[in-house]
Symmetry: C3
Subunit: 316 residues, 3 copies
């Protein structure tokens, strides 16, 4: 779509220059045919270095737009990228179907759906009611229980197990907000990548990235009813116990343990070998190798001391 | 069913008067062919003004029953309405099938079920494994991802998106309790109404009303693994973040934000533009326009101050 | 499989004696053709009395192995039983299919899957997309809503109701851990037993036992999005409100109430008629007949007093 056609669709003034826009993307990854936006000053460095063909930008940050990038001035770049996103969303069902490729020795029950252009490697077991979307790749020896849903574009490694009803690749919970309080969906063109030897529990949910990928690295084990927000990255061999939740863009190191009903606030990092006790609520980045608990999060040993003090306090 | 036949079925004495009972309903909405009950003194005004044909009532509240309503005295009206409810539950599968009506330009994949007498408006996309019950109405341009389940009688507006595995219209968690500790199901004859432009996340659940409707108003966005109890009402443009839960009969104003893993205790009101921070637990009605947090809930700024104090306290 | 073949598969030295091993099991239930393990000193009595054909045991506990049992010394018995478990996991799909038996007057919709050798008793209603595994028994008058998944070997009583998307019998979240931080799956050969008159809410999950059974006794009612870990036992007429979670091997008495978003830490007992208020976190065994709340858990009346004190504290 031509940039000026897009701008007129979303009620913005035309640009002096016009280019072909093929997609939206973040500042770091956008190319000269992609449209991006800057959402706050913390991304100024990314803006300075962007290769995006065009960016939505507030007047205040205009000077940081590279000369090779068309600047589109607006009050709320996040909102305008949301408005734009719907013009680049992919079809859920391809018009041209490419038959999926199924490997050797697979056991695929009746009532399984496998979408166009997907690849199922050898020895897969896929049980009734599972729905594999389009352009999905599933490595060798995976077990997919009934009624698992894998959205389009998901990439899955070898030896993975997905329990019944889990959902991989649903849209992230991302909206921009209008002045009158409406929420404009940011269509999620990213995907989910799951590496080898990952197990995901029943009815857990893993959201796709808005741009790029939500990534779960090899050996990670996820229990039932766990929520993984969009653009999360989970390191190798991590453990997420039932009903825990990661808000969007949480980044976990390797061998992180998230206890039952624990959670993160999103856009933060948890270091390697950190343990979050049950119900712990992580609201800022924490270093690895330690055991944390409570909400707000403190060291678990301090939380235990605190609770002992509180027990005394109650008896006064 | 004749009232006296019903009463003899549930081991109560016959009434002096007998009428045809066609359904059960709450005091406010019951008509002369409906049976109701009073559950505690807070509903005395509704009792005084009821048009119900008959009511279960304790001896103590007998005087408040209108002359036109048959009073059936019992110890536990809630229990007897529960016993009665099973005689009025609807068939899950109609004996007489009315073919569903499907609008223009819909993309409905194989392996989708659409029940008797349902209506799917134009441009719907319904993916594999979705199950649409009977007497369901779905407005234009809706996207229904795989394995979504929409129970009978649900009414859905236009431009809605339902992510994989979400469940709309399941029975509320409503039981009456016998003296010996058993729980008697109250069959839920209500439904769910979802207005335009609502998005519901993967594996979230929305219960139907016991009587009347659970209502989600236009523009509201619900994340993954969220629980909406029976008879809730959610105002326009509200936001419910992942793993939050609303207990039955919660009433949210417009533009309310429920943070991740937050919850309400049910039978309470949250004013317009209120924000509940992550993990906030709402146990009584609160006014709008403010930011709350903690459990028990306080203003979020007070909660933050409190936590700072507690951090000092721990260091003593 | 011969014991020595198994041991060589998992890189352990051969035993002086060799026997046929048909399964793995816990110390108490293992027979002479089964392999077991001891995981910590608290199980010494079970070890002394085991009838297991062979056990993995640390050198330290070697003296407690009965003379009739072959002792296999290793550093980490839990890890080696995990390595062994994969040789005894059952096929998910039987090679020889035995047609399921369906009772009288059942209403089973199209698009329902019922596995080999399963039995559905009279008057069942099973709606579209439900997947009943192999060797499942379902008693009379059950209602199974769309897209419910019941894993192999589950036993269900009469008059049960399973709401859409709930998952019964998924693998428990059980792994042993290697020195280099990998998690080795313990294949779960146990099952789930659900007695009469149990109702389970939409998208709730009940894990199968690693050995033996996860048991939900008659009359218990479970709300939406509830997690029941492996090997839990839930007594009669208990109530589990939405988003509550039981960690593995929790044992609830009868008429226990778990409030919304409450949880247990696993391997603990809750006495009859105990009530856990919403958000209560049970981390050790508690006696019945009382109302608890908070996390760490205290008596609810103390929790309320504590919160009142904290409110004063904040105002200082």
């Amino acid at each position: 779509m031509l940039l000026n056609e897009l701008l007129s669709n979303i009620a913005l003034n035309k640009s002096l220059n016009d280019i072909e826009i093929l997609n939206i993307n973040d500042l770091t990854h956008a190319n000269k045919n992609e449209l991006s936006y800057i959402d706050g000053e913390k991304h100024i460095d990314a803006l300075k270095n962007t290769n995006a063909g065009a960016v939505f930008v507030t007047e205040k940050l205009l000077d940081f737009v590279p000369k090779t990038t068309i600047a589109i001035i607006c009050d709320n770049p996040h909102l305008f990228i949301a408005y734009s996103s719907k013009y680049f969303k992919k079809d859920l069902i391809s018009k041209i179907k490419i038959p999926p490729v199924i490997g050797k020795d697979c056991s695929i029950e009746d009532k399984v759906s496998i979408g166009s252009n997907s690849i199922i490697a050898d020895n897969a077991v896929i049980l009734s009611g599972a729905v594999i979307g389009e352009n999905v790749t599933i490595g060798k020896n995976c077990i997919i229980y009934p009624n698992v849903i894998i959205y389009n574009d998901t990439i899955i490694g070898e030896d993975c197990i997905f329990h019944a009803g889990c959902v991989i690749g649903s849209d992230g919970f991302g909206y921009a907000h209008t002045k009158d309080g409406r929420h404009i969906k940011i269509h999620h063109n990213g995907n989910v990548i799951i590496e080898d030897d990952v197990e995901i529990g029943a009815n857990s949910t893993v959201d796709r990235a808005v741009f790029g990928s939500t990534i779960i690295k090899k050996g990670t084990k996820i229990d039932n009813l766990v929520q993984i927000g969009h653009n999360c990255q989970i390191g190798e061999n991590s453990i997420l116990v039932a009903q825990s939740g990661l808000a969007g863009s949480s980044e976990l190191g390797k061998n992180v343990i998230m206890g039952g009903q624990s959670a993160t606030a999103g856009h933060l990092k948890i270091g390697d070998f950190a343990t979050i006790a049950a119900r712990g609520g992580v609201s800022k980045s924490i270093e690895g190798g330690r055991v944390y608990g409570g909400f707000p999060l403190i060291l678990q040993k301090d939380w235990l001391r605190l609770q002992a003090k509180i027990l005394k306090f109650i008896k006064k």
